[in-house]
């Protein structure tokens, strides 16, 4: 379509200013992200989610300082105490303050969620972007590779990696990153695939922009919406998966524990010390919900079909 037409400066001529002024829109112009924010603000659930996330972050930051106990202070005389004055959330089987431990757990679990989703975004955007943009054979090979990885039961993968890398924060990031990037890659590729057929990309190419420039300046910024949604939804998923690994004894632990580890410790005391399960489980669930609400809200806010 773009074919053999030759374009010369002579073919263009300045537009009359008045003609433009006549087309002026009465409403104040609203930018894309402003627009998204406006719509997000109307979504009560999403806003609740945002507030909860903010509170959780606050708790992770200042929570440990609110309590008189440190996360690893043991008091073997005060083991398995129920929630009460001295210990807001009670104590665990070594007499450590559960409130402080849950706050530290927030740091670890949130860090796992956020960093994993950032890692996935970086890998996914590069991989999916390149695959989608180049298309053809490269795309096919790259996507088949994703398909192969995807078909391997990921638990085996993660467990093997956790064993290879020694349990710890770093291994969790790597293991989860390796597992979850393909979803992001698919999302990005799908977006790029549909966007690259758009006229403004043809225009950019026509004006001589290189592959990288088109990729970084035009395609990726325009795929940001779905990427952000995926990232938001990946945070709780990573936290969930870490909790799952904790159940198998492969979570982050000692001396600081993630929520998953706290919960799987707590489940053994369920009959006698239910609070040891209740608080970590509560925080996992709240986080799950908050991020999901925000993710859903964002998706709706970004969906052009819902734009009024």
């Amino acid at each position: 379509m773009t074919g053999k037409m030759e374009i010369t400066p002579q073919m263009f001529k300045p537009v009359e200013r008045d003609a433009l002024a006549a087309e002026e829109i009465a409403c104040p112009s609203v930018g894309y992200w402003q627009d998204v924010w406006l719509r997000l603000k109307q979504n009560k659930l999403a806003m609740t989610g945002l507030v909860i996330i903010a509170l959780l972050a606050l708790l992770a930051l200042v929570g440990p300082h609110l309590s008189a106990h440190s996360y690893d202070d043991q008091d073997l005389q005060m083991v398995n105490q129920p929630p009460g004055g001295g210990y807001w959330f009670g104590t665990d089987s070594l007499g450590r303050d559960l409130f402080t431990r849950v706050c530290y757990g927030a740091r670890i679990s949130l860090a796992i969620g956020l960093l994993t989703s950032v890692i996935c975004m970086v890998i996914g955007v590069l991989y999916g972007g390149i695959s989608g943009y180049l298309g053809g054979r490269v795309d096919e090979i790259m996507m088949r590779f994703v398909e192969v990885i995807y078909s391997i039961p990921f638990l085996l993968y993660v467990i093997l990696l956790m064993v290879l890398l020694e349990p710890g924060l770093k291994s969790i990031f790597i293991a989860l990153g390796i597992v979850y990037w393909q979803n992001m890659a698919r999302v990005v590729r799908g977006q790029v695939l549909s966007l690259k057929e758009q006229e403004y990309i043809y225009a950019a190419r026509l004006l001589g922009a290189g592959t990288w420039r088109i990729l970084l300046r035009h395609l990726i910024p325009n795929t940001m919406g779905p990427i952000i949604v995926s990232m938001t939804l990946l945070v709780p998923e990573a936290i969930f998966t870490e909790a799952f690994l904790s159940f198998l004894g492969l979570g982050v632990s000692a001396p600081m524990a993630s929520w998953g580890v706290l919960a799987s410790d707590g489940i053994q005391g369920l009959r006698n010390y239910p609070w040891q399960l209740f608080f970590p489980a509560l925080f996992i669930s709240i986080t799950m919900l908050a991020f999901n609400f925000v993710g859903d809200g964002l998706r709706d806010a970004l969906d052009p079909r819902l734009r009024r």
């Binding site: 202070d73 073997l76 083991v79 070594l94 349990p167 489940i267 053994q268 005391g269 369920l270």
Partner: protein, 534 residues
């Protein structure tokens, strides 16, 4: 529209109601006094071939179906089983067993040739039995197993159908006890030769013990019933035995409470405080020790003062009472209670404690070693295999060292196989360990730490110690043996390449109407031969 909705709601309600269900049937069948015991052994057995089995679950299941030459009774005394009586030559080297008229469950007689065949089978290199070394007391056994010697040269002979003669390398008083151990159980030659997988199928599991296998649902349960052909069948009162193979302790506890189990082998530490005073909770002795290894090839643990300082700064009583909660005993020596000394008294009671917790002394030692108040102490890590209790113990000790000595150590849990691998490669600073004996003699503990011993794994070596162990191993004279072992243990505790933490116990939950279940302190979890339901 309303109608559809209504229909949908009804359907949904129906589905949800289905979840409520009616009362579980399993709770109902613990009726009156059927002679049935249901027991959880906590794992699927790796094999039920006695020559190849190693684990406690395997040994426990085999013990119900197989009878060796001897069998331990309720007081942990060795009693005749298939062997009616035996003679030990004066030099302690030749054992002659006289077998009784016993039958296999297929009607064949149990003969001395069966024993010779079974033991040689376990020793054969092609069998690749992990526990073949349990036979290495017998003359020529090690050579045959390693391919250096011939089968015919092993000191084993059937003098006639009912007489078995065994010749040992050196006197070994523990040998008699080993004849009750799983690796020494007999198998039926004809059956085994006809079908190498005979032990995998209840139909072909020919046995000579109190019970025989009826069914085996993998990862679920093994059902046994009384073996009418057993030589001592008149003393077996139990008609049926169900052994469950479930590894999750929480699940097992729920099943016990729900009446699906009569006897629970292991209990989560978190349950124990709430069970205090419960008549069904029994805390039984266990001849095992929980200890930490120091890697003496690494700084600063090459310095005995550091090792001692760390050992003296652990509050073992708090560990036992607040963390383990199962009535364990703080350990101030390496060999647990429950082993007989030369005079018939307890080895541990005679030996006593070899050290005491002492903070001032610990601080002094640490300062002398060049780390006053823990200053400059290198980075060190406690390694343990992933398990709830190990983690708690490590966390508690980490805190004690921090508080008492000013030393910061990190703790690291690793997966079981990795843990074993790193331990044997001496790739650790401090490692958690446990040890339970193979036979009821202190030697099972003492010979671990000889120079280069496979179970040493600390890099520690001491000539005097090696000499004492050798002395004890080369004589049948209990007095000399025991004296040497006491002396060796003292050296071990003075040098402290390992620091004992506590002696295990075996807390079990057992329904009150169960009688005469033997729960021995080592080697197997339980013996149901004499058990019955009241």
């Amino acid at each position: 529209m309303k109608k559809i909705l209504l229909a949908l709601m009804v359907l949904m309600a129906f589905v949800l109601a289905g979840c409520g269900g009616d009362r579980a049937k399993d709770t109902a069948d613990k009726s009156s006094t059927t002679q049935l015991i249901r027991y959880n052994v906590d794992a699927e057995p790796k094999t039920l071939d006695p020559a190849k089995s190693t684990g406690l679950p395997d040994g426990t299941i085999e013990l119900q179906m197989l009878d060796g030459l001897t069998r331990y009774d309720a007081n942990q005394e060795i009693k005749p089983a298939i062997a009616e009586n035996w003679d030990i030559s004066e030099d302690g080297l030749t054992y002659t067993f006289k077998l009784r008229d016993a039958k296999w469950s297929n009607g064949d007689p149990v003969t001395a040739q069966d024993f010779v065949y079974s033991w040689l089978r376990a020793l054969a290199p092609e069998t690749a039995s992990e526990y073949a070394y349990q036979f290495f007391y017998i003359k020529g056994a090690e050579d045959y197993n390693s391919g250096k010697g011939k089968k015919e040269d092993v000191g084993l002979k059937a003098l006639d159908d009912k007489t078995l003669q065994v010749v040992l390398n050196a006197p070994a008083p523990q040998f008699l006890g080993l004849t009750a151990f799983q690796t020494y159980f007999p198998v039926n030659r004809k059956v085994v030769e006809g079908n190498p997988n005979w032990f995998a199928d209840p139909k072909t599991y020919v046995c000579d013990g109190p019970f025989k296998m009826v069914s085996w649902e993998h990862n679920q349960k093994i059902v046994m019933e009384k073996n009418p052909d057993y030589w001592d069948a008149k003393n077996v009162k139990l008609q049926k035995l169900e052994i469950y193979l479930i590894e999750n302790l929480d699940t097992s506890f729920n099943m016990y409470n729900n009446g699906q189990l009569d006897l629970m082998n292991e209990i989560n530490a978190q349950e124990l405080p709430a069970l205090q005073g419960n008549k069904e909770l029994k805390i039984l002795p266990d001849a095992s020790v929980y200890f930490y290894r120091f890697n003496v090839t690494r700084k600063p643990f090459d310095d005995v003062r550091v090792r001692k300082a760390l050992a003296l700064a652990i509050d073992r009583k708090a560990l036992v009472e607040s963390v383990m909660k199962g009535g364990q005993k703080p350990a101030y020596a390496f060999v647990p209670f429950g082993f007989k000394d030369a005079g018939g008294k307890d080895f541990r009671e005679n030996g006593g404690d070899y050290f005491q917790e002492d903070l001032t002394e610990a601080k002094k030692l640490l300062a002398e070693a060049g780390y006053p108040d823990g200053k400059g102490f290198p980075k060190a890590t406690i390694m343990f295999n992933t398990q709830e209790n190990h983690q708690k113990v490590a966390e508690a000790i980490q805190q004690m060292w921090k508080k008492n000595l000013g030393i910061d150590v990190t703790i690291q849990n690793v997966e079981w196989q990795v843990y074993l691998d790193r331990e044997s490669k001496l790739d650790y600073d401090i490692a958690r360990a446990g040890w339970s004996p193979d036979y009821l003699d202190p030697m099972s503990f003492i010979d671990m730490f000889v120079t280069g011993g496979g179970n040493n794994q600390t890099g520690w070596s001491n000539k005097e110690y090696d000499k004492l162990v050798n002395e004890a191993k080369s004589t049948g004279d209990q007095k000399i043996r025991m004296t040497s072992m006491h002396q060796a243990e003292k050296i071990l505790m003075d040098e402290m390449p390992v620091t004992p933490l506590f002696f295990y116990t075996h807390p079990v939950m057992i329904k009150e109407n169960l009688k005469n279940v033997i729960i021995p302190p080592f080697a197997t979890y339980a013996d149901f031969k004499w058990a019955y339901v009241e």
